[in-house]
C-alpha cells in the first residue's frame, strides 16, 4: 500500500534537508520524493510517496506540519488524481533489427525515442509507475544500460487549486 502526499513548502535553503532529516529520524519508509517550483513564487511543492505498510501516513503528515517551513500537507491517495512518473531508459541495440524491435515496443507504450546511438537508443517514457515498470520489463531482455526515473508527481483532478 502506498500513500501519496502533497506538501507545499517555503522555498528556503535547507527545507529539503529538514524534510529528509525528519524521515530519517522518525524511521519513515519513503518510496520517492520529488520537489520543484509551483505557480507561486517562494513556494515549492513536494510529492512524497509513503510505503504505508510500514509507515503510518497520517503520522508523516502530522510531523511534516511540525516543520516551520511546511505550509500545507495533503494526503491525496483517496482522491482522483493524475499521477505521473518520467523515465529515461538507455537500451542496448546491437544491429538494426533489434533497434526496430525496440522502437516498436516503445511505440506500443506511447513512449518515444529521444536519442539514437550506434548500439543503443534512449527512450523517454511518461506515465503511471505501473506503465513504466511494464516498459522496463519488456526492454530488459535487450539490455538496459542506464535508467533514471523522477518518482511520482501528482495533482488532484478538477478545478480546485492547492489550498493554503
Amino acid at each position: 500500500m502506498k500513500n501519496t502526499l502533497i506538501a507545499l513548502v517555503e522555498d528556503k535553503p535547507g527545507v529539503l534537508t529538514r524534510v529528509a532529516s525528519l524521515f530519517r529520524r522518525r524511521n519513515y519508509n519513503i518510496e520517492s520524493l520529488t520537489v520543484g517550483h509551483t505557480e507561486r513564487d517562494g513556494i515549492s511543492r513536494m510529492t512524497i510517496v509513503v510505503d504505508s505498510t510500514h509507515t503510518d501516513a497520517e503520522k508523516v503528515v502530522q510531523n511534516l506540519y511540525k516543520l516551520v517551513n511546511v505550509i500545507q500537507v495533503e494526503d491525496i491517495t483517496e482522491q482522483p488524481v493524475v499521477a505521473r512518473d518520467l523515465a529515461l531508459i538507455k537500451v542496448r541495440t546491437e544491429g538494426g533489427s533489434t533497434r526496430s524491435e525496440v522502437m516498436q515496443l516503445v511505440d506500443t507504450f506511447r513512449a518515444r525515442v529521444v536519442d539514437v546511438g550506434v548500439d543503443s537508443v534512449m527512450v523517454e517514457a511518461t506515465g503511471t509507475e505501473d506503465k513504466i515498470d511494464g516498459l522496463a520489463e519488456v526492454l530488459k531482455p535487450y539490455g538496459i544500460l542506464e535508467m533514471v526515473r523522477t518518482g511520482r508527481v501528482a495533482m488532484a483532478r478538477g478545478g480546485a487549486g492547492s489550498r493554503e
Binding site: E10, G14, R25, Y65, V68, N69, I71, Q72, E164
Partner: protein, 571 residues
C-alpha cells in the same frame, strides 16, 4: 538608526524582555559580547557551554520565560548540543545564539567552523543561519515567538562573524508575526470536546494523567476545577509534578516505572483515562499491550503528532489544554465517585507498611530520609532541582510539590549533569527562592566545574549530594537483571567536602539521619551557597528505588517496596 549586528542582538534581546543570558565568549561571538554592557541584559559566565544550555533551561522552567544561552562557533556550539536535546525532549523554550565563522569562509573548514544548524536540525524546533544583517532582527523576533508559542521548544540562531560586524538601519520588527507554515492551535474541536464530556459523564472509575502540558499552558487552576467538579483523581508524570497540588485529596502520585503502586493500579483499573498534556512516554506506560486495558481514552495535546503516536485513543483532541479544559468544564456534570476513591485509598494504605520513611532508625542513611528532611525544613516550598538517576526518582517521590513551575529535572532525555547548572538558572530566575539541587555523585561530577559560577555570581544555591559511591541506577539494574555484575559502576570519589570548600562554598557531611537533619537545618538558614554530602546506603534494599516496573511488565506488575516487619513499624 544604524546598528551593527552585535548591537541588534542586544536590542532585540531587550525588546523580547530577556533579563539574562548564560554563556561563554570566544573568537566568533566576541564581537557580539563587546557592546553588551550598554544594554540592560545580565550575562552569566558559565564554565562549560553545556552548563550554559542547562542553566538557560532551568531558568525557563522556573520563570516560564524564554531562556537564552550564547556560545562561540565550533566546540562552543557543539558543547550546547546535549543541553539542546534535553530542552527539545522536555519542550523547554530556549533561544541559543552561536557565533559562526565569517560568511566568505563558510564551508571551507575554517578554524572553529562547524555546521551547527545541520547538527541541531533534529533537536531544535527550528533553527537559522543568518545570511545578512538586514534579516537579523526579524530572525530573532521569529525565534522567540517560535520558542515560546505552541508546544514550546529550543530555537538556535547561528550568526556569522561578518554579520555581527556589519551595520544596517535598525527598526524594531512589527508586533504581528505571520508564518504561513506555523499556526499554534487554540481551542479544541467542539464535537470532540463534547464526545470527551460524554465519556467523562458516563465514567465510574476515571483517572487524569497530568503532564508538563498542564504547567506550560497555564492550566493548573482549570485542572483543579475540573478534577474537583468531576471528582477525578490525578496521577502525574515526573515533569507534571506540581501542576496539581500533591497535598490535594484527589492527588494520586507519580505514575510509571517508579510511580506509586496505587497510582499505577488506578490507571490499570480505570474505565476512563484523561491524558492531559502528556505523551505516553515508555517510562509511564509499562507494557503497551496491557496498558490500561479497561479504559476508554481521551488525549488532549498541543502537538497533533503526539495524538495516537503511542497509545490509540478514543478521543484525540488537538488543542491548548487550558482552553480545552475551559470548554469541558460547563459540559461535565458535578459527580462523586466514592467507591472508586475508597478503592484507591485502600491500595494507598498498603504502602504504609512498606515506606522506608516509616522504618525505625537503624543508623543507616537512605536518600528518602534526607529528601524528606529537606521537605520538612523547607515546608515543601523550595524549588526542587534534580540530576538524573535514583536520587531523581526519590526526589519525585519524597518531595511533594503544591505549586507549578517548582520542579526542574531532565525527564525525556535523562541528562546526567543537568542538575547543578539548571539550579543556577533556577536561582537566577527566582533570586529570593530557596533552590535545592538534589544530585547524585555520578551526575555531579559531570558538571561540577560550575560550582565556580555559583560563587562568582553569589548564588545561594543549596546542593544536596547523595553519595552512594556508584552510578546507582545502573548498579540497581545490574543487581536486579545482570546477576549483581557491577561492571563499570563503582566510583572512587574525591573528598567532596574538601573539594567544594576549595571553591569557597560552605560544606557539611552527614552519615546518619541525625547529622542529616542538623546539616539541613544549618544549610537552610545559611547566607550563601551551601553543600551537604549525604553518605547514603550503597547496596541492599535501602539503596534501591522502589516500586519498580521491570522492562516488559505491565504497569501494575511492580516490584514493591520491601515489607517492614509489623513490630518494627514506627507509630
Amino acid at each position: 538608526m544604524k546598528r551593527t549586528g552585535a548591537e541588534i542582538v542586544w536590542e532585540m534581546l531587550e525588546h523580547e524582555g530577556v533579563e539574562v543570558v548564560f554563556g561563554i565568549p570566544g573568537g566568533a561571538i566576541m564581537h557580539t559580547y563587546h557592546p553588551r554592557k550598554n544594554y540592560d541584559v545580565r550575562h552569566i559566565l558559565m564554565r562549560h557551554e553545556q552548563c550554559a544550555a542547562h542553566a538557560a533551561d532551568g531558568y525557563a522552567r522556573v520563570s516560564g520565560k524564554v531562556g537564552v544561552a550564547m556560545a562561540t562557533s565550533g566546540p562552543g556550539a557543539t558543547n550546547l548540543v546535549t543541553g539542546i536535546a534535553t530542552a527539545m525532549t522536555d519542550s523547554s523554550p530556549i533561544v541559543y545564539i552561536t557565533g559562526q565563522v565569517a560568511s566568505p569562509v563558510l564551508g571551507t573548514d575554517a578554524f572553529q567552523e562547524v555546521d551547527i544548524t545541520g547538527i541541531t536540525l533534529p533537536i531544535t524546533k527550528h533553527n537559522y543561519l543568518v545570511a545578512d544583517v538586514s534579516e537579523l532582527a526579524e530572525v530573532i523576533h521569529e525565534a522567540f515567538y517560535i520558542a515560546r508559542s505552541g508546544r514550546p521548544g529550543p530555537v538556535l540562531i547561528d550568526i556569522p562573524k561578518d554579520v555581527q560586524i556589519a551595520a544596517t538601519n535598525f527598526t524594531l520588527p512589527e508586533k504581528e508575526i505571520d508564518l504561513p507554515g506555523y499556526r499554534p492551535v487554540g481551542a479544541g474541536d467542539p464535537a470532540l470536546v463534547q464526545k470527551a464530556a460524554d465519556l467523562i459523564n458516563g465514567a465510574q472509575r476515571p483517572v487524569i494523567l497530568a503532564g508538563r502540558g498542564v504547567q506550560m499552558s497555564g492550566a493548573a487552576d482549570a485542572l483543579r476545577a475540573f478534577a474537583e467538579r468531576t471528582e477525578t483523581p490525578v496521577a502525574y508524570t515526573l515533569l507534571g509534578k506540581g501542576g496539581f497540588p500533591e497535598s490535594h485529596p484527589l492527588a494520586l502520585a507519580m505514575m510509571g516505572m517508579h510511580g506509586e503502586v496505587f497510582a499505577n493500579r488506578a490507571i490499570q483499573e480505570a474505565d476512563l483515562i484523561l491524558a492531559f498534556g502528556m505523551r505516553f512516554s515508555d517510562r509511564v506506560t509499562g507494557n503497551l499491550k496491557r496498558y490500561a486495558p479497561n479504559a476508554r481514552k481521551v488525549h488532549v495535546d498541543m502537538d497533533a503528532a503526539e495524538l495516537n503516536k503511542i497509545v490509540q485513543v478514543d478521543v484525540p483532541i488537538h488543542g491548548d489544554l487550558r482552553q480545552v479544559l475551559e470548554q469541558l468544564l460547563p459540559l461535565v456534570n458535578e459527580t462523586q465517585h466514592p467507591a472508586w476513591l475508597a478503592q484507591i485509598d485502600e491500595w494507598r494504605a498498603q504502602n504504609r507498611r512498606r515506606d522506608i520513611i516509616n522504618r525505625p532508625e537503624n543508623g543507616h542513611l537512605a536518600a528518602p530520609h534526607f529528601i524528606n528532611e529537606i521537605w520538612e525544613a523547607t515546608r515543601g516550598d523550595a524549588i526542587l532541582v534534580t540530576d538524573v538517576g535514583q536520587h531523581q526518582m526519590w526526589a519525585a517521590q519524597y518531595y511533594p510539590l503544591d505549586r507549578p513551575q517548582r520542579i526542574v529535572t531532565s525527564g525525556g532525555q535523562g541528562t546526567m549533569g543537568f542538575g547543578l547548572p539548571a539550579a543556577i538558572g533556577a536561582q537566577v530566575a527566582q533570586p529570593d527562592a530557596e533552590v535545592w539541587a538534589i544530585l547524585g555523585d555520578g551526575g555531579f561530577q559531570m558538571t561540577l566545574h560550575d560550582l565556580a559560577t555559583i560563587v562568582q555570581e553569589k548564588l545561594p544555591v543549596r546542593i544536596a549530594l547523595s553519595n552512594n559511591g556508584y552510578l546507582g541506577m545502573v548498579r540497581q539494574w545490574q543487581e536486579f537483571f545482570y546477576g549483581k555484575n557491577y561492571e563499570a559502576t563503582p566510583l572512587i570519589n574525591p573528598d567532596f567536602v574538601q573539594l567544594v570548600e576549595a571553591y569557597g562554598i560552605r560544606a557539611w557531611r552527614a552519615t546518619n539521619r541525625r547529622e542529616a537533619r542538623e546539616a539541613i537545618a544549618e544549610a537552610h538558614v545559611h547566607n550563601g551557597p551551601a553543600f551537604i554530602e549525604f553518605q547514603v546506603a550503597q547496596e541492599g534494599d535501602e539503596a534501591n528505588v522502589y516500586p519498580m516496573v521491570p522492562t516488559g511488565a505491565a504497569l501494575h506488575e511492580m516490584i514493591e517496596r520491601p515489607l517492614i516487619e509489623l513490630e518494627k513499624l514506627e507509630a
